[in-house]
């Protein structure tokens, strides 16, 4: 697809600038992460990952994602279904509300929970009386993560659901399917790529979230540290090798996520193309 509007020199200057930037700001740091992690040898690398604090951080990170992602899938499907397929009072408000976590600083997202559940917070005393610990404990980490990530699935699904419309669901109903059958056999297969895309993005953010989690975690080693918080502590202790070894895990997650994302995008585009072709020839 050679463009004929620009001179070759202009083209290569633009491409070169973009590539230099990417190399300098993204590729080089990524390489540095792995090099620093591995600079004392592969044994030290694995050792720094295979100690109780690191394992505990990995475990908490995985648990947080395992809770937050499914909940956000349920919420995302419900919200996007409601927004795309029904007209109701307050719909615009709901749409705006979904975007809120994206426009608010993660620190504030964390502080909301401290204000609600903390010792001086609104529900803090009541929770303390009943021996329920939320702030500076895994529940708060999970809550903060859910808050930060909940727009991610819904935002992917709303445009998909809007494009699909209602007709296939209505057709299923006239053929005698009940609501659940309609969802499983018609809606879900139609939104699967959008949903998967949302899940991948949501998972990456859930595992990588730092700000909101940092506020509510309390940084208790081996108990309330997620992987990003664990890295920060190691770094502050000048334990660079261990910090970068742990960071390399997150970097690997990012690379893996990008790979999955482009795979899904590729599939999704192919299906979209087929759907478009269908509409055009109709």
């Amino acid at each position: 697809m050679a463009s004929r509007t620009e001179h070759a020199g202009v083209r290569w200057t633009l491409i070169g600038t973009a590539l230099t930037f990417l190399g300098f700001f993204i590729f080089l740091p990524l390489v540095m992460v792995f090099m620093t992690g591995l600079n004392k040898g592969i044994a030290v690398y694995f050792q720094s990952l295979n100690n109780p604090d690191a394992l505990s951080a990995i475990r908490l990170t995985v648990i947080t994602a395992l809770v937050a992602v499914p909940l956000n899938v349920v919420f995302g499907i419900a919200a996007s279904w409601a927004i795309a397929k029904f007209n109701f009072w307050g719909k615009n408000f709901l749409t705006t509300l979904i975007d809120l976590p994206l426009s608010v600083s993660p620190v504030i997202s964390g502080l909301i929970y401290v204000l609600l559940f903390g010792a001086q917070g609104a529900w803090g005393p009541w929770l303390m009386e009943h021996g329920i610990k939320i702030i500076f404990a895994p529940p708060a980490i999970i809550l903060a993560t859910i808050f930060v990530t909940f727009p991610l699935v819904a935002r992917e699904l709303i445009p998909v659901m809007k494009t699909l419309g209602n007709e296939e669901e209505e057709a299923a109903l006239t053929l005698g399917a009940n609501g659940w059958q309609t969802f499983l056999r018609v809606t879900l297969p139609n939104i699967k790529w959008g949903l998967l895309y949302g899940v991948i993005i949501c998972n990456a953010r859930a595992m990588g979230e730092f700000g909101a989690v940092s506020v509510v975690s309390g940084h208790i080693r081996g108990q309330t540290n997620t992987l990003p918080l664990h890295i920060e502590i190691l770094y502050n202790e000048y334990n660079f090798t261990a910090a970068f070894a742990a960071a390399s895990l997150l970097a690997l997650l990012a690379v893996f996520t990008l790979f999955l994302k482009s795979l899904v995008e590729y599939q999704y585009r192919a299906e979209l193309k087929a759907a478009l072709k269908m509409e055009k020839s109709a």
Partner: protein
Amino acid sequence: MSIEVKQIAKTFGSFQALENIDLKIETGELIALLGPSGSGKTTLLRIIAGLENADQGEIFFHGKDVKEEKTKDRNVGFVFQHYALFRHMTVFENIAFGLRVKPKALRPTEEKIRARVKELLRLVQLEWVANRFPSQLSGGQRQRIALARALAVEPKVLLLDEPFGSLDAKVRKELRQWLRRFHDDLHITTLFVTHDQEEALEVADRIVVMNKGKIEQVGTPEQVYHNPANLFVLNFLGSVNLFHGRAEESGAAASEATATPKITKIYVRPHELTVTRQAAGANSLKAQISFINPAGSVVKIDAVTSDGQLVQAEISQEEYKSLRLQRNEHVFLTPKNITYSEYDI
């Protein structure tokens, strides 16, 4: 199965989509709901299917009130305007869908499902597309698959929303005749929505003409075409010429007639006008030919009267050839029959 609709009304916000609709459809009839867009015909169809709730009124299927019944329990076959085929399923799975979602106790065996799908594919003459996806079919093929899918659950009523709306003219005509033959074979009570009067006239047993949420007339194609109940029906079912004239005791005159007159408006369809070179009585009207279109089964002639009014006439090819009509020449137009007349006084 017969369908009866009583006093159905529906509003969308401040828009009155349907107003006091009464309609009775007998078992085995093929009915066209005809009207311009926004006339409420699709809404009525969707209310019968249960896809939309009426604000008031009752619906009876074979004498049984179905207003509280959900779509899935009404046993209607519905063909959507854009077919709504399941895009992620093959044609085979699309047709099998209605059988596969039946409750376990009623669900046919895999073998029976296969046999039924094959039978339906044969019925719509598309046995060879079973393993394709909807995106690989043409518009006309999708239309027929949508019909086969609707028929799989053996519905008592078949509802079609603009079934030929998005097809090109030739396929449209073929499918129209195919639907007519198909209905003659199966005799399933069928309602279809259309805005194309030619389609309604050609296919339906009876036509329900709708406008602005109301039914204007219900009748056979012959009745609505030749004896329209009102001006709307007259205009909607085909082009028509308006003449201002005065009615005589015995009949009507298109031109300046005599005797104690009543002022009237007279409507004459283009094919009800004879074109001659000499005046053929007092009802003849002089006009100058402005355009001739001889391409088609009839020859279409536009002429302008002395007071500047455009009149359309249709004559047979034979007449056209024997008259050797030319553009800009003066002719006389005489109504053979008056389709509709309106008395102002």
